[in-house]
């Protein structure tokens, strides 16, 4: 199996010739490969959502939040980020690995005892809140943001949600209370990949008109392509200046982004059902998917003229773990 070691991320991060966006693209492609491998190794995990949210994870945690690993020492002053949907955590764990916050010894213990829980748990470094039961994250972030106000502390409070998650009633409680209570130091990002579990959100319960609805609750709303770093960067620079309202970004993403065979537009056209919400690929599928990602990594590195010896040092073999169950 293929896994990219932390030292390779360092090389990219420290590069003087790459722009932030170029670095983000490469880091994201590395994290996608590592996520695929850790899910394969675990035998289950939410691959589609990990991939759709990956670029958002990478931008926020590598570039928007400065020196995330060092910030942990700041205590409550630190910038806060967590995912409310939580099932995308295999992707997030791998971003935490790339930041040096989760160790290599742990990353291959996804969904294992004394390893990394299948949904986020605060006992894991870099995890700010226990989530995964949908709908609670914005309310929790509101508590964190309110506490920061009381303590007169700076720092970002960012929470990522799913789009299907916007069917939860608690979300609408919190959209209303957050603006009414004037808790404006909060940014919500919706990973709007249009698929919940295995079907289109609109075919389960339509959540639109999303932007208008949220604006009417008193929020400042922006929309962007959540798989374009240029767009993500511009949207954050815009939204971070807004102080008069709580803020929300609808990030249009593709479920399974980066692995052509599991990207939702193609899968839905072919199957009508998105079968990569959770679960792990077979050996054959893993070979195919990892080759797609490796091809993409090579293309990116070549385009940016980055010299890393792929064959000898980027990839390593790992034993495949069996016996796990696919849970949505």
């Amino acid at each position: 199996m293929y896994f990219i070691g932390k030292e390779k991320f360092e090389v990219i991060k420290k590069s003087k010739k790459l722009s932030q966006i170029e670095k983000a693209e490469i880091i994201s492609s590395f994290c996608r490969l590592n996520t695929l491998t850790t899910i394969k190794n675990a035998g289950s995990g939410h691959i589609g959502s990990s991939m759709s949210a990956m670029d958002l994870f990478v931008w926020v945690n590598h570039f928007l939040i400065k020196e995330k690993k060092k910030q942990i020492k700041l205590g409550l002053k630190r910038d806060y980020f967590f995912s409310s949907k939580g099932h995308d955590v295999p992707g997030f764990y791998n971003v935490l690995y790339s930041l040096g916050i989760i160790q290599r010894s742990k990353i291959f213990k996804l969904r294992r005892l004394n390893g990394l829980d299948g949904h986020p748990d605060v006992r894991i470094p870099g995890i700010e809140a226990n989530t995964g039961s949908l709908g609670m994250g914005i309310s929790k972030a509101k508590g964190i943001a309110f506490a920061k106000k009381l303590l007169k502390l700076e720092g970002l409070v960012i929470v990522l949600t799913g789009d299907g998650e916007f069917q939860e009633g608690q979300i609408y409680e919190t959209l209303q209370t957050t603006s009414s209570q004037k808790i404006n130091n909060i940014i919500v990002i919706i990973d709007h990949n249009k698929i919940q579990s295995s079907r289109f959100v609109k075919d389960i319960i339509n959540i639109n008109p999303l932007k208008k609805k949220i604006e009417n609750f008193g929020w400042h709303v922006e929309r962007c392509n959540g798989n374009s770093f240029k767009d993500i960067k511009n949207t954050f620079s815009k939204i971070i200046k807004i102080k008069s309202k709580p803020k929300l970004i609808i990030a249009d993403t593709i479920k399974g982004k980066g692995i052509s065979s599991i990207e939702h537009p193609l899968v839905m056209k072919k199957n009508k059902i998105y079968n990569w919400h959770s679960g792990a690929p077979s050996n054959q599928e893993y070979e195919f998917m990892s080759n797609v990602l490796i091809h993409d990594i090579k293309r990116l590195l070549k385009k940016r003229q980055v010299n890393i010896n792929l064959l000898k040092s980027i990839f390593q073999k790992k034993r495949i773990n069996q016996n796990s169950i696919d849970i949505h």
């Binding site: 748990d121 309310s139 509101k142 508590g143 409680e173 919190t174 209370t177």
Partner: protein, 319 residues
């Protein structure tokens, strides 16, 4: 603190005192502040009072966020709304191993005029099923203050404080020597073979009236008020049960999931039942609506009904 204070007034007076010493104490309310006089807290500490509106799930998760930031949230709503509607949020907060105090206002059957949407007969069950939680129920102004102080300053676990609403009952406010020790009860009256365990002002009141009826027959009944409902001190219970033959646990919770089953399970596990007979008197259906006396009588929790039930059991009859 004044003797004629209701439990809710005593609670809020003490809460303001606690907030003086613990600067991290914040209050969250789901628009039931008037019922607990919490606006007096807001007057004193406006920044530490969060009015969250009728949005219990959001309120509980917000409390979770505050607790992650080192605050001590005190979360208020009616027991039936807080512990039931927001139960998953309460559970989720508990998994983060933070500490939060939940106020289960209007817990139990009484007052019964509001009917079954408001009476709370299952909050003990809903909260006791969550690890790392202690459930308390004060009896009067005095132990309300002691229990709250314990929860704020001593207890490490999450706390749920069940509060009876309504004015203080005369028989109860005049009781002297009410103490609070975690996991132990208060023996309000001493007896020989028969012991009643119950909790809260309304049922203690009925138990005291029941005791008077037995007194006429020269039978002394021991009455114990339980203020900790899901955690019991083994040595204290061993001592109090010494020489007892009949144990009656009276509660206004649903029969299968209240504290009488928690107590029975504790007694069995600790080999404290021995040859004693254990009876629980609790609700076997949804709570009825009516006046206090009507409903206590209907649910067989009035002193008359308790007297008959206890009498039948000690005489060896089955009904």
């Amino acid at each position: 603190m004044k003797k004629n204070l209701s439990i809710t007034s005593a609670f809020t007076q003490e809460l303001i005192e606690c907030a003086k010493k613990n600067k991290k104490l914040v209050v969250l309310d789901a628009d039931l502040a008037d019922d607990l006089n919490l606006y007096s807290f807001k007057d004193k500490y406006p920044k530490r009072f969060i009015q969250n509106g009728i949005a219990e799930q959001d309120m509980v998760s917000m409390a979770g966020g505050l607790a992650l930031m080192g605050f001590l949230p005190v979360v208020n709503s009616f027991a039936s709304f807080l512990s039931a509607r927001a139960n998953e949020q309460i559970y989720n907060n508990a998994t983060e191993l933070t500490k939060i105090i939940y106020i289960n206002l209007y817990s139990g059957l009484i007052p019964a005029g509001a009917g079954k949407s408001h009476q709370s007969i299952r909050d003990v069950s809903l909260i006791s099923s969550i690890p790392n939680f202690k459930i308390y129920q004060p009896l009067n102004y005095h132990d309300t203050s002691l229990i709250l102080k314990h929860c704020v300053f001593k207890e490490k676990k999450n706390c749920c404080i069940r509060l009876n609403i309504g004015p203080a009952l005369k028989l109860i406010q005049n009781l002297s020597g009410i103490k609070f020790e975690d996991g132990k009860g208060n023996e309000i009256s001493k007896g020989k073979e028969i012991i009643i365990f119950t909790s809260g002002q309304y049922l203690i009141n009925e138990a005291l009236l029941t005791k008077k009826m037995f007194n006429k027959e020269n039978i002394n009944i021991s009455i114990v008020n339980l203020s900790t409902l899901n955690y019991f001190n083994k040595h204290w219970f061993k001592k109090i049960l010494n020489q007892k033959k009949y144990i009656f646990c009276i509660e206004d919770n649903f029969k299968d999931s209240g504290f009488s089953n928690l107590l029975l399970s504790f007694l069995i596990k600790n080999d404290l039942v021995n040859n004693k007979k254990y009876f629980s008197i609790s609700l076997d259906n949804f709570p009825e609506c009516g006046t206090i006396n009507e409903v206590l009588n209907y649910h067989k929790l009035s002193s008359n009904k308790l007297y008959k039930f206890i009498k039948s059991k000690i005489n060896g009859k089955n009904n």
